[in-house]
């Protein structure tokens, strides 16, 4: 039995479970109706309790490091104890509600960071300019291999200067207007000087202190009584437990052994709701692209790429793969960026046009392998649904579900389905669409011809301090990608998480992380 069919059986069995559940009236009904809305409707926050979170995707390779993640439970753990200088709010807009009072751009090649005063680390040490400089140095050290390293390429970290106890000057090697977004990304956390990852002591500015941690199993976090935001956090403890299977996770939530879970399967949403469990649907900018390497046959012919993009029935795919939770994509990423080009026409399925493009390219009977894996949920389903849709255009797609997809062949494949989280446009370009980007699946941009100026446009955009002009350049870049790029972006999937109805304060968020950025670091949620 293959992995897919086993998973489908699991889902099927859980579905049966749920069908039976509709009849049995739920014994543990909560007195307060679940409005699903924010603080106002839920009443005043209350102190106390042990918040138990179940997360899939972890294992014995779990880590705890204020500036690094490997697995999804690592993301949750990171959010308990560590904080960034700037903060994305639930609409994915950058705010200065983080550790920095202000971050100002002095000129295209220099920023000044001014810290909020009086913030203490969990060990009582005050957060100062020295800690900020150490934090940047640590992320910028290549051999540590930390998540944020690629984003430090433009920073002149060695040239950082402490202006006073709470002020730091950050010079740049080359102009970079995305610095504020980088300072708000969830792994770009501030740690005290001398900090090292677990098993060294985990000391951050966040709402909970690490009490115990066993990779692959569980971590327990205690309330930080000294937390700088007065009144927060509300729970006494947070317990994060690894689950290997989402059916077990859903059962634990239904049975009351956990209070919240990540990544409810779209097919299980109605099932859980019927049994009085809250479901948080967040329309994020997360996406599962079908990636065509623009320098590998048959996708080195732009007509083939455009044909593939015309084959997709985007609404149908959104419905089939994500049960309609999410929104249709237009082969462009970063939909919440102010620079997202909404003027480009929505691409629709056009089989006739696709067929004629393929014929013109000499690929009328195209047969091609599409590689993917059970990575982020929906990847294999996206590949399968797309393969079915392609039959209408006479294209034969053979889906290969490879457990070692992220092995040596990753990023060297002509045709694959991958996943990405929410990002601002230029940050995403830096991560996936430049010659030196760490995850460039499509081998973008072209070395010559149309689009070969993409890299220089990117540099212009980084250097441009005038927002309107920058957006103009970004539109130009997106037009090139829209007409020549290697991504098919059928839909933005969103995140679906589950929670016990006694958990209050959760709001749908457009950010990358589950459960409203894990309840903004487990501090904006509480038990009713």
């Amino acid at each position: 039995m293959t992995d897919v069919s086993r998973r489908q059986l699991f889902i099927g069995a859980a579905g049966l479970a749920a069908a039976g559940g509709l009849a049995a009236a739920c014994g543990s009904s909560s007195s307060t109706p679940s409005t699903g809305s924010a603080t106002g409707a839920a009443g005043a926050p209350k102190r106390g309790g042990n918040f138990r979170l179940g997360v899939t995707g972890g294992g014995s390779k779990d880590i705890m490091d204020g500036q690094n993640i490997i697995t999804k439970p690592d993301q949750a753990r990171l959010m308990t104890a560590f904080e960034t200088l700037l903060l994305f709010n639930e609409n994915y807009q950058l705010t200065n509600n983080g550790l920095a009072e202000t971050v100002t751009q002095d000129n295209p090649k220099q920023y000044t960071i001014r810290l909020r005063q009086g913030i203490e680390f969990q060990n009582g040490k005050t957060l100062t300019a020295d800690d900020v400089i150490y934090s940047f140095q640590r992320i910028g050290t290549k051999k540590f291999g930390l998540t944020g390293y690629a984003a430090t390429a433009t920073m002149d970290i060695a040239g950082m200067k402490k202006l006073d106890q709470y002020t730091v000057q950050l010079p740049l090697k080359s102009a970079d207007s995305t610095i504020p977004q980088t300072l708000g990304s969830y792994t770009f956390n501030m740690v005290p000087t001398g900090y090292q990852g677990y098993p060294h002591p985990q000391v951050g500015t966040g709402a909970y202190k690490l009490k115990s941690f066993t990779p692959g199993q569980q971590s327990v976090h205690e309330r930080n009584p000294n937390y700088w935001r007065s009144g927060q956090p509300y729970f006494d403890t947070v317990t994060i437990t690894d689950f290997s299977d989402s059916t077990a996770q859903a059962n634990a939530l239904l049975g009351g052994q956990i209070d919240a879970m990540t990544d409810v399967l779209p097919s299980q949403v109605k099932v859980l709701q019927a049994q009085n469990v809250g479901v948080l649907v967040s329309k994020t900018g997360g996406w599962l692209p079908i990636c065509m390497a623009i320098d590998m046959p048959p996708f080195d012919d732009v007509r083939v790429r455009q044909a593939m993009r015309l084959i997709v029935d985007r609404k149908g795919l959104l419905e089939q793969v994500f049960s309609g939770y999410g929104f249709v994509g237009n082969d462009l990423y970063a939909p919440f960026d102010p620079g997202y080009d909404k003027s480009l026409p929505q691409r629709e399925q056009d089989i006739a046009q696709a067929k004629s493009l393929l014929k013109a390219a000499g690929q009328a009977n195209l047969a091609v392998d599409l590689h993917t894996t059970n990575g982020a949920s929906g990847m294999v389903e996206t590949a399968t649904v797309f393969a079915n849709q392609a039959q209408a255009a006479g294209v034969k797609i053979n889906v290969i579900n490879d457990p070692n997809f992220y092995g040596n062949q990753y990023l060297k494949l002509a045709f694959s389905v991958d996943f990405w989280g929410t990002r601002a446009y230029l940050n995403q370009v830096q991560q996936g669409s430049l010659p030196n980007a760490p995850y460039n699946e499509t081998h973008w941009p072209p070395k010559s011809g149309t689009g070969s100026n993409f890299g220089s446009l990117y540099n212009q955009a980084l250097a441009e301090t005038d927002a309107a002009k920058r957006i103009q350049i970004e539109h130009e870049m997106q037009q090139i990608e829209y007409n020549n790029g290697g991504y098919i972006i059928p839909a933005f999937a969103g995140l679906i998480d589950g929670y016990a109805t006694k958990v209050k304060g959760l709001v749908p968020s457009k950010g990358t992380l589950n459960l409203d950025s894990f309840g903004h670091g487990f501090r904006t949620i509480w038990f009713a």
Binding site: G145, T214, Q217, N251, N404, F419
Partner: protein, 324 residues
């Protein structure tokens, strides 16, 4: 050389143990070759999507993946002989530290399932044979066939629905064993996984017991015993049962060995912290030391259980006992 051949039951056990050791050595080589044949880099597998050239290089250095294959194998074998199972590539801690608590957890589950399922299934099988073609036999046979046909995880999920989530909330739906605690600290959580395992194993043993018992009851010596006027109780307990148990021991051993390797599904459904999850994860991560240790362990369990079954069979079968 026959003069030096150890004789008797102990000699038999000694010979089988030596054979077992040879089997284990072969297993270690086979597993090692199989894992080496996969064209995959453990560093890549561990970091997965979050791999960057920088973090990959950092991890490879840390894991000493630059050593030649033979050297890696030799280091492991010599370590094993000194009781050192090596260091997990993914978890970066000794394999023994990583697996010991999980082994205890899984062993508790298997032992509980065995202690409950063996007497239960033998009793059901024997009673069904006595009441052949009667109501009990028909009802139990049909039910056991039905249960045997259901995959373990369907049984497990049905139990969860009935007792933990939808129908009633009598028992916990998941049986996670938190680090630092033992399964018996929360014995309520042990009930569902144990029950699921008992249902997975009992039908086979009961069916074989029934068939074996029927065969024995129809044999000449049982008829002779009855003709000699022995009480029915003595006929059954002294003459029929021991002879019927022989083949059943083999099936029990096979089923227990299956449990030792095959509790993966049950552990996953109940998020039970055991070796099942460790196996699956180690394979995905190409965590060679952990795969090696677990493969050796499961092979050892097979060897020992088969030996025990053979010894038990010999002890209840006079014909075999005297031939040694």
């Amino acid at each position: 050389m026959n003069r030096f051949r150890p004789r008797g039951l102990w000699g038999f056990i000694l010979r089988r143990l030596l054979l077992g050791i040879i089997v284990l050595i072969l297993v270690s080589i086979l597993v090692f070759l199989a894992t080496q044949a996969l064209p995959e880099d453990p560093a890549r597998a561990i970091l997965g999507r979050s791999a960057t050239p920088a973090s990959l290089a950092a991890l490879r250095r840390q894991l000493h993946l630059d050593q030649p294959v033979i050297e890696q194998y030799w280091t492991w074998v010599t370590g094993l002989l000194h009781g050192n199972l090596g260091t997990s590539l993914a978890a970066q801690e000794p394999v023994s530290t990583l697996l010991a608590p999980k082994l205890v957890n899984s062993a508790v589950l298997v032992a509980l399932a065995a202690v409950l399922s063996i007497p239960l299934s033998i009793a059901i099988g024997a009673y069904a044979a006595l009441k052949r073609e009667k109501a009990f036999d028909q009802a139990s046979s049909n039910l056991l066939l039905l249960l045997a046909a259901l995959p373990e995880f369907v049984v497990a999920l049905a139990l969860v629905i009935l007792l933990a989530t939808t129908v009633s909330h009598v028992l916990p739906a998941v049986s996670t064993v938190p680090p630092g605690s033992r399964p018996w600290n929360n014995w309520l959580a042990l009930i569902l996984p144990t029950l699921a395992l008992v249902i997975a194993v009992a039908p086979y043993v009961a069916r074989i017991m029934r068939a074996s018992m029927i065969e024995v009851l129809e044999s000449d010596y049982v008829e002779m015993a009855r003709l000699k006027g022995l009480p029915e109780r003595t006929v059954l307990l002294r003459h029929a049962l021991p002879n019927a148990l022989g083949p059943v021991f083999q099936v029990i051993a096979l089923n227990l060995a299956y449990l030792a390797g095959g509790i993966i599904f049950i552990e996953v459904v109940f998020n039970y912290t055991g070796v099942g999850g460790a196996i699956a994860e180690a394979v995905v991560n190409h965590d060679l030391p952990v795969i090696q240790a677990l493969a050796m362990l499961i092979a050892a369990v097979y060897v020992i259980l088969n030996l025990l079954a053979d010894v038990a069979t010999i002890l209840v079968t006079p014909k075999l006992r005297t031939r040694l």
